[in-house]
């Protein structure tokens, strides 16, 4: 394994773990498509930050993208309150924001160092060359620092407010009755999703981030009934998908990000069929045993 392989795998794993942890809460609150919406909506924020700051300095991008993500959530909520049903308001808001982003990218192709391919499926293969240098010292790839920081942030916030997030995920009514500010935690979660999305964006692109947010948590959801275990399994399956996907990508000479998501889908399919508790095979076995004992 060369150092380039190592950096690509590390970048992919860090992105996958951040997304996998947050995705668990999205799935449990039935807001998987909110992740879809946010991951599309951060694009105009990223492009505008590029255009204003003139650099790929991550901190501006993070702030702009987090703002866009929260704006997207606010817009959806607002239209929802105006009587538009939630799926349609999600659809209208994220397609419009994403379209603004794509038009900005293609109109400013020369100033903005982003192309449409990168918007869709990232450029994780080039991570190793884009290094962070402070005072002439090479500190390793920039995206690793960015994604590592994001992961620390996610772990810190979720760890600090684990009980509150858990209660909001399973029983928002009870949470409200106990005086937990549910709206605050809702927006906190959405803010974290935006930050995780934008820091993964360069590596895996807008649409495949959705895969990292939704597929590993769903795999874990089929394997356990406990939230703590689910988060752990989800992160593990995200990392496994990264390793497996990278191998497939080398074998097929194809997009790494695409292969990582396809590998995550394979793991999901395995869990769907073989999970001891909630899998298709287990259900069939239970069923036949039951009918035999009845006969």
């Amino acid at each position: 394994m060369s150092s380039m392989d190592f950096w690509i795998l590390l970048t992919g794993s860090l992105a996958a773990v951040s997304c996998a942890i947050l995705g668990c809460f999205l799935i449990l609150r039935r807001m998987a498509l909110m992740g879809d919406a946010i991951s599309h909506s951060v694009l105009p924020g990223i492009v505008v930050a590029y255009m204003i700051s003139g650099s790929r300095d991550s901190i501006y991008m993070l702030i702009a993208a987090a703002i866009m993500g929260l704006l997207c959530v606010l817009f959806i909520q607002w239209f929802n309150n105006r009587g538009i049903q939630s799926d349609a308001s999600i659809g209208v808001v994220f397609t419009s924001l994403f379209a603004i982003g794509v038009v900005l990218v293609s109109m400013n192709a020369r100033q903005v160092d982003l192309d449409l391919d990168c918007v869709l499926y990232g450029e994780i293969a080039y991570t190793a060359w884009n290094t962070l240098q402070i005072g002439g010292v090479d500190l390793g790839p920039r995206s690793v620092w960015l994604l590592g920081g994001t992961l620390l942030l996610v772990l810190a916030v979720i760890g600090l407010f684990y009980k509150q997030f858990k209660l909001c995920a399973f029983d928002p009514m009870l949470a409200a009755a106990l005086g937990i500010p549910a709206a605050l935690f809702h927006y906190l979660l959405m803010g974290l999703v935006s930050v995780a999305t934008v820091s993964s964006f360069e590596s895996v692109g807008a649409i495949l981030v959705v895969g990292l947010l939704v597929i590993p948590p769903s795999t874990a959801y089929l394997l356990t009934d406990r939230l703590g275990v689910m988060i752990g399994l989800s992160a593990a399956s995200g990392v496994a998908a990264t390793l497996l996907g990278y191998l497939i990508a080398i074998w097929l000479d194809a997009s790494i990000a695409g292969c990582i998501v396809a590998a995550a889908a394979l793991l999901f399919a395995a869990a769907f069929l073989l999970s001891p508790k909630h899998g298709l095979l287990a259900a069939k076995l239970r069923h036949s045993r039951l009918s035999r004992s009845a006969a």
Binding site: I27, R30, A32, L33, G35, D36, F79, R82, G83, Q85, D87, A88, S89, I90, G91, V92, T95, S96, F98, A99, I100, V102, V103, S106, M107, A109, L116, D117, L120, Y121, I207, L208, V210, G211, L213, V214, I215, S218, Y221, L222, I248, A249, L252, D253, A254, S255, A257, G258, C259, I260, V261, A262, A264, A265, F268, F272, H278, G279, L280, A283
Partner: protein, 311 residues
């Protein structure tokens, strides 16, 4: 100003551009009409999922035949769309995964596989593939005459079918239980509706692209909802909004060199949506404000006069 005049003149004089614009308008019309029923059935995002699942279908069709032909791509896309729909059904029916997560899983995994195939085709150095990535965001100006007539024809058929089945779909949207009681096959109608959505999405993939084509189903319908409470008018309005978006998308993107058609059409639809939100005659912000104010004034007058009478 001169360039605007020139581009209008180009629209009037260039027959090729005129046909492409007409095709995109027909596409907008049929998508807008079908979108209304999808909206009422709460399946707006289903269109988005189906659109993303089309990508691997297109790539497989190209890999199998080795030629770039729109009819073949459309077949591949339809097959993949149906497969995606089935996958969502199986996942939600046979496991504890909810519908939203199932849609997210199918959307991203199909799209991921599509991207894998697309990059494989690109890396294999096959020269004729160069246009395949245009299917992501759409490029109406790159369409040849036969593609345009295929897209326009399919759109026209969709619009006619939608108009003919208006009553049945209305019943299905508002009261499926009654529809069943009245002797309609709800599952057949449901399947037909699903098929119309898939076909509308697939018809639009070359012009508008797989990433954003679903917006033509969603946005015009939601905009129309702000102007009327009647389904018939909503369908007509939504069709008109879709047509306008198609016109603007095809026209503007043909004038600016770098601009893909899909995002421009979506932005045109979004502009219509914003106007509808502000000024819509039924639910628009302005209307709601005015109605509330009038009601308050009436109430004040009524209470003032009743006080006078009592005094």
């Amino acid at each position: 100003m001169i360039s605007l005049w020139d581009s209008i003149a180009a629209l009037a004089s260039d027959p090729n551009l005129r046909w492409i614009t007409l095709g995109c308008m027909l596409l907008g019309l049929s998508s807008g009409m079908i979108g209304c029923f999808a909206y009422l059935r709460r399946q707006s995002l289903m269109g988005d999922t189906i659109a993303h699942t089309a990508l691997p279908g297109i790539c497989v069709a190209f890999l199998l035949t080795g030629v770039k032909s729109l009819p073949v791509f459309m077949l591949g896309a339809v097959a993949a769309g149906i497969l995606g729909t089935l996958a969502i059904r199986v996942i939600t029916a046979r496991s504890r995964i909810k519908a939203d997560a199932a849609m997210g899983i199918v959307l991203s995994s199909f799209f991921g596989i599509g991207i894998v195939l697309l990059t494989m085709i690109q890396h294999s150095g096959d020269g004729s593939q160069s246009g395949l990535d245009k299917f992501l965001f759409g490029q109406a100006a790159a369409m040849v005459a036969s593609d345009v007539s295929l897209m326009g024809g399919v759109s026209l058929v969709l619009a006619v079918v939608c108009a003919l089945l208006f009553k049945e779909f209305k019943l299905l949207a508002f009261d499926p239980a009654f529809a069943k009681g009245a002797g309609f096959s709800v599952s057949l109608l449901d399947f037909l509706m699903q098929a119309l959505v898939v076909t509308a999405v697939v018809a639009g993939i070359q012009a508008v692209g797989v990433v954003l084509v679903a917006a033509l189903l969603i946005t015009p319908a939601v905009s129309a909802r702000f102007w009327t409470e009647r389904l018939g008018r909503m369908v007509v309005l939504s069709g008109i909004f879709g047509m306008a978006s198609g016109l603007l998308g095809a026209w503007i993107s043909s004038q600016a060199h770098q601009l893909p058609t899909g995002p421009v059409s979506v932005l045109a639809a979004a502009a219509v949506f914003l106007v509808s939100v502000l000024f819509g005659s039924k639910r628009g912000l302005l209307t709601v404000r005015l109605t509330r104010r009038r009601a308050r004034l009436n109430l004040q007058q009524a209470s003032a006069s009743s006080v006078k009478e009592a005094g």
